[in-house]
């Protein structure tokens, strides 16, 4: 048999075994190529020009590259270990190490560059789809056309060539180091052998659980205690990260076997075949792979967390823009308002004008927030707060001593520990004026520009308002808002608005005029691009980590095949074994997933209010999709086990 037939034969065998590896390779090269194509394509200028996504794109492509290359190198290493017996055998029959190396290299070259070619072709076609998706979520009105970009191809080829050379180098050193005998043994050395549980492990196990719980506890207090005031925020974050990550590592190292051991102790030797196949092997396997599992869990948590946060922002874009544009349109100058009103009347669009006089009155807020440091600009006891009258917003009058606050921003409230009710003392020129408030409303009446930083706006009775105006001599400003009465005409009104104010509307930070629709679009565009990039990376990570767990399961199932033979000889049916395997997969994939979900849940929960107004719906959607995609790998590996079990007798 010549080397050529050897290569072709083992290639054939490997393709059926490693279809998932080929798939992952095709997938990652397709992703990378389409991503790079996007970067070089002219149609992307539309997206990038509006939101300056260039930096994001290049950062993401580097991260993508890191994920892909780590995955490919790791998978390659796994395969080398699995095939070490074969390598040893070739050497035993007299092939030189170099010849075996050449054989393996040619073989992997065929798989690698074959998949790469398919990946690039797929990537080219899918990039158009991806651009369409990107345009959709960033609200860019453009037709997705793509041109084949030679630069992108060159970059992809170069990058994957470098990864391939790295792989060859790793293989070369692997072979050079090993003697024939050790090649025959290499499989068994990777997994820790079964040992009795030591006291140290027990301590590690308990410590792991405690550290994770501590991290969660700290994260829940991150923005709600004195940490913000005492500038300990950064330290706290580092502490949370460290305790959760170390806790996760210890969890896999000790807690799992500790917990499973408790269950086993309780069963007192009476282990059903299901628990034989799941509990008893898992506790040793997880310990041996604790580092890998920690990395997978942490990055899963990161991916889910970032995806959730970006989706929260995207989901709440409309709500968030209310802060900046409380009405359909706002104007800083009265003359802009007047000219726009004229345009609307000319076109017969009915509208409603909101002109609100806003006073900025110094007030003592010590009763409602124990953390005045954040918003007090100087050492003064008084903080300027915006005050408007009920009359100016057409609301029924309040009782004389009462008022309410409105336009509360979630992140602000949490940071300042703001109370739901309390007393605010306004400072006048001579005396002071006390008013109690019983309500903290969330909707915005005037834009954030008029509300003294992020403070809510005080709504008082008109009599009080007049008193404040007369006695306090505060600074005054007028908020000009405009609502279109008929919602169906909003689009048309917006078009006239853009037409009329195009030259002045572009300044983002303090716009002279603003339109809600445009603001939402802009927010969506910005967050949409971030979400797109994070989603891209998250998906890549999901697939690569799923593949790694699957490959591990492949190896495990083959290692455990003798056990299945024994069990089947003893009279356990395939179904019995398969049930146990399903149970095992539930834990094997479920524990990293569950930990990742729970980590990301606590991470998101600690700071979601900076990103949007709705926590549950977007987070649950992201987690649901992630779980679904992830389960595919659990199902695939169960199917692989099924094959192994069927073959075992």
């Amino acid at each position: 048999m010549s080397i050529k037939t050897l290569i072709l034969r083992s290639l054939k065998k490997n393709l059926t075994n490693y279809y998932l590896y080929v798939f992952a390779l095709v997938f990652s090269s397709a992703l990378y190529f389409s991503f790079v194509t996007l970067r070089y394509d002219s149609s992307m200028n539309k997206v990038q020009a509006s939101v300056k996504g260039e930096a994001g794109f290049s950062a993401a492509s580097i991260l993508l590259l890191v994920i892909v290359s780590v995955f490919l190198l790791y998978a390659n290493q796994l395969f080398m270990k699995r095939r070490s017996k074969e390598i040893g055998l070739y050497q035993l029959v007299g092939m030189t190490k170099f010849k075996v190396f050449r054989l393996l290299s040619i073989e992997s070259m065929l798989i690698y560059f074959g998949s790469l070619t398919i990946g690039v072709i797929l990537g080219f076609f899918s990039s158009r789809l991806i651009v369409m998706l990107l345009f959709k979520i960033t609200n860019v009105q453009a037709v997705a056309t793509l041109h084949f970009s030679p630069e992108a191809l060159l970059q992809t080829l170069l990058v994957f060539l470098v990864i391939f050379v790295l792989m060859l180098l790793v293989n070369y050193f692997f072979m050079k180091r090993q003697s024939i005998l050790s090649l025959f043994r290499v499989v068994s050395t990777t997994e820790a052998s079964v040992k009795k549980q030591s006291v140290l492990e027990l301590i590690i196990g308990i410590a792991g659980l405690c550290l994770i719980i501590l991290g969660y506890y700290l994260s829940s207090r991150l923005f709600s205690t004195d940490t913000v005031a005492t500038n300990a925020l950064l330290g706290m974050m580092v502490a949370i990260l460290a305790s959760v990550i170390i806790g996760t590592y210890f969890f896999y190292k000790g807690s799992i076997s500790f917990l499973f051991n408790l269950i086993r102790k309780k069963k007192n030797g009476f282990l059903s075949v299901q628990s034989v196949l799941s509990l008893s092997t898992l506790m040793f396997r997880m310990k041996a792979n604790s580092f890998l599992l920690t990395v997978i869990t942490t990055i899963s948590a990161l991916a889910i967390g970032l995806l959730s946060l970006s989706y929260i922002s995207y989901y709440s874009a409309e709500k968030a823009s209310e802060q900046f544009v409380p009405n359909d349109f706002t104007f800083s100058h009265k003359k802009d308002l007047a000219s726009y009103e004229k345009t609307l009347s000319d076109h017969g669009i009915p509208f409603e004008e909101h002109r609100i006089k806003v006073l900025s009155v110094p007030a003592d807020l010590s009763d409602v927030s124990d953390r005045p440091l954040i918003f007090a600009s100087s050492n003064s006891k008084y903080t300027p707060i915006s005050v408007i009258s009920t009359k100016s917003i057409n609301e029924p009058p309040l009782k004389k001593n009462e008022m309410y606050l409105t336009g509360a921003n979630d992140s602000f409230l949490r940071l300042t520990n703001f109370k739901e009710s309390g007393t605010i003392t306004f400072k006048l020129k001579k005396e002071s004026l006390k008013r109690t408030f019983t309500e903290l409303k969330h909707h915005y009446v005037v834009s954030i520009k008029y509300s003294n930083g992020s403070l809510p706006v005080a709504v008082v009775d008109h009599a009080t308002f007049q008193l404040l105006e007369k006695e306090g001599k505060p600074t005054q400003s007028i908020y000009n808002g405009l609502d279109i009465k008929d919602n169906t005409k909003l689009e048309a009104a917006n078009d006239y608005f853009i037409h009329q104010f195009k030259p002045v509307a572009s300044n983002n930070l303090s716009p002279r005029v603003a339109s809600r629709i445009e603001d939402v679009k802009q927010q969506r565009g910005m967050i949409g691009l971030a979400m797109f990039i994070v989603g891209f990376l998250g998906l890549t990570f999901l697939i690569t980590s799923g593949c790694i767990l699957y490959f591990k399961q492949m190896g495990e199932s083959e290692e455990e095949q003798p056990n299945y033979t024994v069990l089947r000889k003893l009279g356990f049916t395939r179904d019995d074994l398969l049930k146990g395997i399903m149970f095992k997969q539930l834990f094997n994939f479920g524990i990293p997933l569950f930990l990742g979900l729970s980590h990301s849940y606590f991470a998101v929960k600690s700071g979601w209010f900076f990103f949007g107004v709705s926590l549950w719906t977007p987070t649950l959607i992201v987690m649901g999709i992630y779980t679904m995609l992830y389960s595919i790998f659990a199902i695939l590996s169960t199917l692989y086990y099924k094959k192994i079990i069927n073959d075992s007798l």
Binding site: V194, R264, G269, V273, N563, V566, K569, L570, G571
Partner: protein
């Protein structure tokens, strides 16, 4: 009444074109409570015979009855059920699950039967004390010696009171001291529990512990020897002589 009765069984491997007949029309009867060895040269079909008798492998023609039930006609699920409740196995390589403790390994066959916990516990205790491995119950297989592993394996085979035990070269991987220990224990268990044991071996010493030795040659019954009232030493000499005739090779002892 025979506990195992095989009639004219045939077994062949390979494809239609390249057929290798391993068992060629063999008849065999085992009586309840017997301790039987099956001997034969390598390739004579003794392990295949044990596999088909114990229902792990299927036969091409013929019938096998165990306890009056026709095993050879059963479907896969029924077979599994049957093995679980009525048969016990001891293998040359012990085949203990190395992620389970000694106790968990032994208790494995009991988890599928409806034996109450405390009775299971009592059985486990008496069984392991008889075999002298009670103290090892919380150890893992890689922490004990080969002889102890094989005794664990034996305990697993006996614990659910099967009607038959099949042993495939149980002493093959043991040193002679551990081997004779194990065989003595098996003989004791065979007497005290009246469990029928069929054992494949090519060690004449091991065979001399049995009450009957069956010799297989080229897939057919060649001859058989009964121990009767002979001493073990005399029986050993008989077995040696037969083996020498059978194999046509000078004996190694």
């Amino acid at each position: 009444m025979f506990i195992l009765e095989a009639k004219n069984i045939r077994k062949s491997y390979g494809s239609k074109l390249n057929k290798q007949e391993v068992i060629k029309g063999l008849d065999l009867q085992l009586e309840a409570g017997e301790f039987v060895s099956i001997m034969g040269a390598s390739g004579s079909g003794k392990t295949t015979l044990l596999n088909v008798l114990s229902s792990i492998d299927s036969i091409n023609s013929g019938t096998i009855m165990i306890e009056g039930k026709e095993v050879s006609a059963m479907k896969e699920k029924q077979l599994a059920q049957f093995r679980k409740h009525h048969l016990g196995f001891i293998f040359q390589e012990y085949h203990l699950l190395d992620t389970l403790t000694v106790k968990e390994n032994i208790m494995l066959p009991l988890t599928v039967t409806k034996v109450p916990r405390n009775e299971a516990e009592a059985r486990f205790k008496s069984m392991t004390e008889e075999l002298g491995i009670y103290e090892l119950k919380d150890k893992y297989p890689n922490e004990i010696s080969g002889g102890q592993k094989q005794r664990t394996s034996a305990a697993r085979a006996f614990i659910h009171n099967p009607s038959m035990i099949f042993a495939d070269e149980p002493t093959g991987a043991l040193d002679s001291k551990s081997a004779s220990d194990l065989l003595q224990k098996l003989t004791d268990l065979n007497r005290s529990r009246q469990t029928t044991i069929a054992m494949v071996t090519h060690d004449p010493v091991a065979a001399s512990y049995c009450s009957r030795v069956i010799f297989i040659k080229d897939g057919q019954l060649y001859t058989q020897l009964y121990k009767g009232t002979q001493t073990q030493q005399a029986f050993f000499q008989d077995v040696m002589k037969t083996q020498a005739v059978l194999g046509g090779v000078p004996n190694e002892y």
